[in-house]
C-alpha cells in the first residue's frame, strides 16, 4: 500500500512538469510583450525595460523556465506585480478558504447526491424517482452564479413577501458575503455544491440500477438478507466505485467553480485572487494560483485512487 502511494506520487511528477510548462508558457503565449502588458500600455519605456529585466525576460526561454522551476521548487513563486508581496504569501490564507469551500461543497454534494441517487434507484419509476431526477436536472442546468444571486435574494436580503404568509416575513437568515461563520458558509456551499450533487445523484442512480440487476444481489436475497441490508451492504459498496471517480473529478470542477461563487459572495479566496490578478495583469500571481490549484487537483485524484483500493478489491494496487 505504502509502496503504491509512493509510486503514485512519483507518477505525478510528469504531470507536474507538464503543468509547470503550461503555466510558464502562459506569460509568453499572451500576444505582445509581457513586460509591456504588465506595466500597462501607457507606461514609459524605461519602466517597461526595468520590469523586463527584473522578471528575467531578456534571458533565453529554457533559462527562464529553469529559473522559474528552480524557484518554484524552493517555494518561491515570485512577487506580485501589484502589491510587491510574495505570491506564496498572497495565496497562503486564501488557499484554505477555497479548499474549505470546495471541501464543504463536496461533502454536501456527496451526501445529498448519494442519498437521492439511492432513493431514486430503489424506487425506480416512482413519483419520488421522477421528482428527484427533475430536481437534479434543474440543479445541473442552473448556472451557479445565478443560483448564488437567487439564494442571496431569498435568504440573505429577504423578499417583500405578502404579510399573510406565516413564518416567512423575514428571510434574511444568512449573510450574503464573507467567509468564516456558519451563516456565511451556508449559501456559498449550497451554490457551489448543487451542480455536483445533481451529477452525483444521477451517477449513483444509474450505477445502483446496474448493480441491483446483478446476480450477487439475487444471491443475497436468496440468503434471506433484509432489503435494507441488500441495498446498503451488498449493492451500495459496488455502486460507489464509479461514483468515487466522479466525485474526484467534480472536486476539480468545484475549484474552478469557486471562482464564480467567490466573486458572487465576495469571499476572499483563490478564485477571487485569480480574477483580480487577471484584471490587473498580475502574471506571477495568476501563475502561482493555477499551479497550486493544479497541484491540489492532482493530490485529490491521488486520494481517489487510494479510495478505490478500499472499495474494489479487484484493483490490485501493489
Amino acid at each position: 500500500m505504502i509502496q503504491y502511494i509512493v509510486r503514485r506520487i512519483l507518477q505525478t511528477i510528469p504531470v507536474l512538469i507538464g503543468v509547470s510548462i503550461l503555466v510558464f508558457s502562459m506569460m509568453h503565449l499572451v500576444p505582445g510583450d509581457p513586460a509591456q502588458i504588465m506595466a500597462g500600455e501607457s507606461a514609459p519605456q524605461e519602466q517597461v525595460d526595468n520590469l523586463r529585466e527584473r522578471l528575467g525576460l531578456n534571458d533565453p526561454l529554457p533559462v527562464q523556465y529553469f529559473t522559474y522551476v528552480s524557484n518554484v521548487v524552493q517555494g518561491d513563486l515570485g512577487n506580485s506585480i501589484r502589491s510587491g508581496r510574495d505570491v506564496g504569501d498572497e495565496i497562503g490564507s486564501r488557499f484554505w478558504v477555497t479548499v474549505e469551500l470546495a471541501f464543504y461543497s463536496t461533502i454536501l454534494a456527496v451526501f445529498i447526491g448519494i442519498i437521492a441517487g439511492v432513493i431514486s434507484a430503489t424506487k425506480r419509476n416512482s413519483f419520488a424517482d421522477t421528482g428527484i431526477m427533475i430536481v437534479a436536472l434543474f440543479g445541473l442546468s442552473m448556472p451557479n452564479f445565478w443560483l448564488g444571486l437567487m439564494l442571496i435574494q431569498w435568504f440573505a436580503i429577504g423578499m417583500d413577501l405578502p404579510s399573510w404568509i406565516p413564518f416567512l416575513e423575514n428571510t434574511s437568515w444568512f449573510k450574503p458575503s464573507g467567509w468564516g461563520s456558519f451563516s456565511q458558509i451556508v449559501l456559498p456551499v449550497i451554490t457551489l455544491g448543487t451542480g455536483s450533487a445533481a451529477i452525483i445523484a444521477r451517477m449513483t442512480r444509474s450505477s445502483m440500477l446496474d448493480v441491483i440487476g446483478q446476480d450477487y444481489i439475487r444471491t443475497a436475497r436468496a440468503k434471506g438478507v433484509k432489503e435494507r441490508i441488500v441495498i446498503y451492504r451488498h449493492a451500495l459498496k459496488n455502486a460507489l466505485i464509479p461514483v468515487v471517480t466522479v466525485v474526484g473529478l467534480q472536486f476539480g470542477g468545484l475549484l474552478g467553480g469557486a471562482v464564480l461563487t467567490e466573486t458572487v459572495f465576495a469571499i476572499n479566496g483563490m478564485g477571487r485572487l485569480v480574477i483580480d490578478s487577471i484584471s490587473a495583469r498580475d502574471f506571477p500571481v495568476v501563475q502561482g494560483t493555477i499551479l497550486v490549484t493544479a497541484l491540489l487537483f492532482v493530490f485529490v485524484n491521488l486520494l481517489v485512487d487510494i479510495a478505490y483500493k478500499f472499495l474494489n478489491k479487484r484493483i490490485d494496487l501493489d
Partner: protein
Amino acid sequence: MGKPNSYENILEIKNLQTSFFTKDLELKAVDGVSFTIPKQKTLGVVGESGSGKSITSLSILRLIEEPGKIVGGEILFKGENLLKKKESEMRNIRGNEISMIFQEPMTSLNPTLTIGEQIGESFRIHQGLSKKEALKKSVEMLELVGIPSPKKRVKQYPYELSGGMRQRVMIAIALACNPNLLIADEPTTALDVTIQAQILDLIKNLQEQLGMGVLLITHDLGVVAESCDVVAVMYCGQVVEYADVKTLFKEPKHPYTIGLMKSIPPHDQDIEGDLEVIKGAVPSPAEMPTGCRFAPRCPFATELCKTKMPELQTDENGNQIRCWMHTDEWDGVKDREVTVHG
C-alpha cells in the same frame, strides 16, 4: 429446525402460474406447473431454454421481480403454502430452510465482500451468531464442500477463486443453515466437464449427509439420469411429463420427451449422419398456440392437438402426462411406433 414430520412431500407445487406483464400483454412464463418432491429425493426439471424452469424455481423462493408476478397456484413447503406467507416469514425461510444455487458462479458472489463474510452472513441472519462464531462456522462449511486451506480462503475475495471453487462457495452458502430443500438452478452449466462431475457428486453426498430434498434444474439429460429420482419435463411454462427417472428413460411417453431423448448422442455406437433434432423452435410467449403447446413441432399432432389444450393426466403410479395421445379422445394413429435409440 423441523416441525414434526406431518408431511409426505418436502415440496408440492400445484397449478403455479407466474406471468410477466408488459404494457398491454401478459406473458405466461409459468402456466399451471404442478410437481412434487418427496422427502430427501431429487427432482430433476428439464427443458429447453425459456421453458420456465428458472422462473419456477425463483417463484418457490418468491424472488420474482417486477414486472413479473406469481398470479396463482399453491407452493406447499412442508405442507404450508409459501404464497400465503408474509415477506418477513419468507426471509426466514430463504437461505435457512430453502436455499438456492445459481447457474453463474462467476457473477453470483459479491465482489466487494470476503468469502467468509458471504458465508457467515447466513449464520448471522438465521442463527444470530457473532461475527467471530460465523467466521468459524464458515471455515467449517468450506471444509465440508472440499475447499483446501479454508482458513486462508475465508479471508479472500471472489476474484481470487476459480469458477469451480466459487460454485463450491455458493454451495457452502446454500447449505450453511442445513436447509430442507436445495434448489440448484443449472449448477454445472458454466463449469467445465471434470468440475461438473465433482460438483454434482458433492451435492449428492451432502444430500445424503444432510437429508435434504433437491430440485435440480438442468438441460442435461445425462445429469438427470445420474442424479435424480423423479423428473419433470417442462415445455413452454408447463410440465408435459412427470415420472420417476427409470420409467421416464425406459418408456418416455410425451413426444417432446421422446424428442429430447433422441437428440442425445448415443455413446455406444457411431453416429451416421446428423443427430436427431426437434424441428422448429420454442414459440414466443406472446404467440402461444391455443392447443397443445408442442403441437406445432410434434410429428404426431392432429387437429385435436392444435385446437384444444390437453390436461395433465395422472396414472396409477403417480406419473403424469400432458398429451392427447394418451387419452381416449385421441383421434390419430393408435399404434404408433415410438422408438428411442439404444
